[in-house]
C-alpha cells in the first residue's frame, strides 16, 4: 500500500508543476512526470510476489507469472507519451519564435 502512495506523491509533484509554473518548458516537464507516474502505477497493479517474467523458457515449467495484461497496455502508453512530448515541444518552439519568450503571462495576443 505504501508503494501506491509513493506513486501518488510522484503524480502530485507533476501536477504541481503543471499548475504553478510559468515557463512552458517546466509545464511540459510536469506533464512528462505525471505520465511516468501513471505508467508505474499500472505496472504496480499487476505484480505478484515471487512471480516470474511472462516469457516461457525452453527447459523449465513456469507456474507463477506476473500479469501480462497491464504490461501490454503500458507498452503502448510509453510510445504514445513520446509522441505527445514531441508535438508539444514543437508548439513551444513556434511560440518562442513568435513572441520571443517562454513566459505564459506574456503570451496574450490572440489573432483576429
Amino acid at each position: 500500500m505504501s508503494l501506491y502512495l509513493l506513486c501518488l506523491a510522484l503524480f502530485c509533484v507533476g501536477l504541481y508543476g503543471v499548475l504553478r509554473k510559468r515557463n512552458i518548458v517546466k509545464i511540459i516537464v510536469g506533464l512528462g512526470i505525471m505520465e511516468y507516474a501513471m505508467n508505474l502505477f499500472f505496472v504496480l497493479l499487476g505484480f505478484r510476489f515471487h512471480g516470474r517474467a511472462p516469457i516461457l523458457a525452453q527447459d523449465q515449467n513456469i507456474l507463477n507469472m506476473v500479469d501480462p495484461l497491464p504490461q501490454a497496455l503500458v507498452l503502448t502508453s510509453i510510445v504514445i507519451g513520446l509522441g505527445i512530448t514531441a508535438l508539444v515541444i514543437s508548439i513551444a518552439i513556434r511560440i518562442y519564435e513568435r513572441y520571443g519568450t517562454f513566459d505564459i503571462t506574456k503570451i496574450k495576443k490572440l489573432r483576429g
Binding site: 502512495l5 510522484l10 504496480l44 505484480f47 500479469d67 503502448t76
Partner: protein, 167 residues
Amino acid sequence: MIFAAIVAIEVKDLLSSVIAVGAVGFALCLAFLILKAPDLAITQLVVEILCLIILIRATIKRDLPLVIEGRWVFNTVSTLVFVAVFLFFAWTALRELPLFGEPIMAVAKKYLEEGTAKTGAVNLVTAVILDFRAYDTLGEATVLFTSVIGIMAILRRPGRKKREALK
C-alpha cells in the same frame, strides 16, 4: 525518483531540469526491471533517450530567467485546495484496490494458460498486444501517425518562391 522530480520542477535553469527528467526516466526503467517486466524496461530506456534528445534540442539556446510577481497568494491557495480535494478522492479510491502483490488476474489466467497454444508465440506480452488485443495496437499506430503529421504541419517553412514573393 521523487527527489529527482522535485529537482526537475524547482530548479531555475532549463537545461538542469531537462537532465533531471532524464534521471527520473532512467530510475523508472530500473523500477520496471525490479517489477519483472523486461519488455517495458527496454522500451522505456530507448524512448527516454530519444525524449531527452528532443527536449535538449528545444531548450539549448532559448534559456531565459524569470521573475515572480503579483497575485501570488490567490494562486497558491487555490492550488492547495485543488490538490487536497484530489488527494482525498485518490485516497478513497486506493482503499478499494486488492492488496499489493496478490492481483486478481481473472482475464490474464486465460491468456497465460492458452497463450502459447493458440498463437505460437513464446513472449506472452507480444502475443497479447499483437494477437489478442491487436485493435489497441492499430489505435496506437494511428496516434503516432497523427503526431508525425502534426509536427510536420506545425514546423513547416514556406518554400523559396514564397519567401521571395514576401520580401
